[in-house]
């Protein structure tokens, strides 16, 4: 038998596409927030980066504070740093921003009646999809199976035997 190339190519194409999609979802954080900061310890530095990652810049709306070069983002990074230096908790920093700019600044919005559709929506969509799939499978299983006549069986057997002769 000749080595078949086509099925393999299909297989690799089928694999490459999801891999590319997965890769495209991974983004590297390139920090615009490169100001020189003197953190008291590594923990404070970690909290600082976590906070500026999770707070949205209001000027460049699809960037977080860490990514944005805008003047306001710089001011707000300074504010976050100041507040951490003054031993405020992460929650206090987040509350400070929400009080001024609204929940819009949180990339990770809290679960409340307004945001519930954001959180529950995808789960509902998955449940609906599974239900639809089950209904589809159920319907498929109920269709009458194809019955073969004796004549059909004889034909099939004949064809299969012929194939066996070739090899």
């Amino acid at each position: 038998m000749k080595p078949s190339i086509k099925p393999n190519m299909k297989l690799s194409a089928a694999l490459i596409l999801p891999i590319l999609l997965l890769l495209s979802s991974i983004t590297l954080s390139v920090y615009a927030g490169v100001e020189v900061r003197e953190f008291t310890d590594a923990e404070q530095e970690r909290r600082y980066h976590k906070l500026i990652d999770e707070l949205r810049c209001l000027v460049c709306q699809n960037q977080n504070l860490a990514d944005s070069n805008s003047q306001l983002a710089l001011d707000l990074r300074n504010k976050v740093f100041e507040m951490l230096a003054a031993e405020k908790t992460d929650q206090q920093v987040a509350d400070y921003m929400v009080q001024r700019y609204g929940e819009y600044v949180l990339y990770n919005p809290p679960l409340d009646p307004v945001t519930s559709i954001l959180w529950i929506g995808p789960i509902l969509a998955v449940i609906a999809a599974i239900l639809l799939l089950l209904i589809f499978i159920f319907k498929l299983s109920k269709t009458t199976p194809v019955t073969l006549s004796d004549e059909d069986r004889a034909k099939t057997k004949n064809l299969l035997d012929q194939k066996g002769d070739d090899e």
């Binding site: 209001l58 000027v59 709306q61 001011d75 929400v98 001024r100 700019y101 609204g102």
Partner: protein
């Protein structure tokens, strides 16, 4: 029949959602400061740096706080309308010169006219942060109790001023201090 109706209904629902989404202005972010007391500050005045101004000085009055900078195009666009509003003596206009140079701010007002009763200078932008300012010009309407009642983001035009602001100002003036 259901086979066709269900996807059609889903499609229509999706289209309605997307259509509503398209109408929304992504630049407009509802301010959490509405119905809250205007954050206190004490900033030097542009024309009298030794004298400070803060919201408490206008308690009992309805007033507008207008954040602007000398290099902002939207501020220049609304400037003539602010001058016109100021000339009608309906409301006190306070200018918050946000993160600007005092010299540039002064020279612009000297050239184009000054609609403000008072201009304060927020050189560091810290008062701007307290008011959640992210895109000048922004205008806050503050009532006699010192509570922010309305905020407008972007350049004010005749529609916003005479359609929304002035009627609201007249109503707020009726409220007890």
């Amino acid at each position: 029949m259901l086979k066709y109706i269900v996807p059609l209904v889903l499609f229509v629902v999706l289209i309605v959602f997307l259509a509503i989404g398209l109408q929304n202005d992504p630049r407009y972010i509802p301010s959490p400061l509405i119905a809250k007391v205007a954050p206190a500050f004490s900033l030097p005045r542009l024309y009298a740096p030794d004298a400070k101004f803060g919201p408490d000085l206008l308690k009992g009055k309805v007033w507008l706080l207008n954040a602007w900078t000398s290099d902002c195009r939207g501020c220049r666009a609304e400037h003539p309308y602010l001058l016109e509003l100021a000339s009608q003596d309906i409301v006190s206009l306070v200018g918050l010169n946000y993160r600007d140079s005092n010299q540039l701010a002064k020279s612009l007002l000297d050239q184009t006219g000054n609609p403000y009763r008072i201009v304060v200078t927020d050189n560091s932008g810290s008062v701007g942060i307290d008011y959640g300012i992210y895109a000048v010009p922004e205008t806050f309407l503050i009532d006699r109790k010192g509570v922010i009642r309305y905020k407008y983001i972007g350049p004010l035009g005749p529609d916003e001023i005479y359609g929304t602001l002035v009627p609201l100002i007249k109503r707020l003036k009726q409220e007890p201090a």
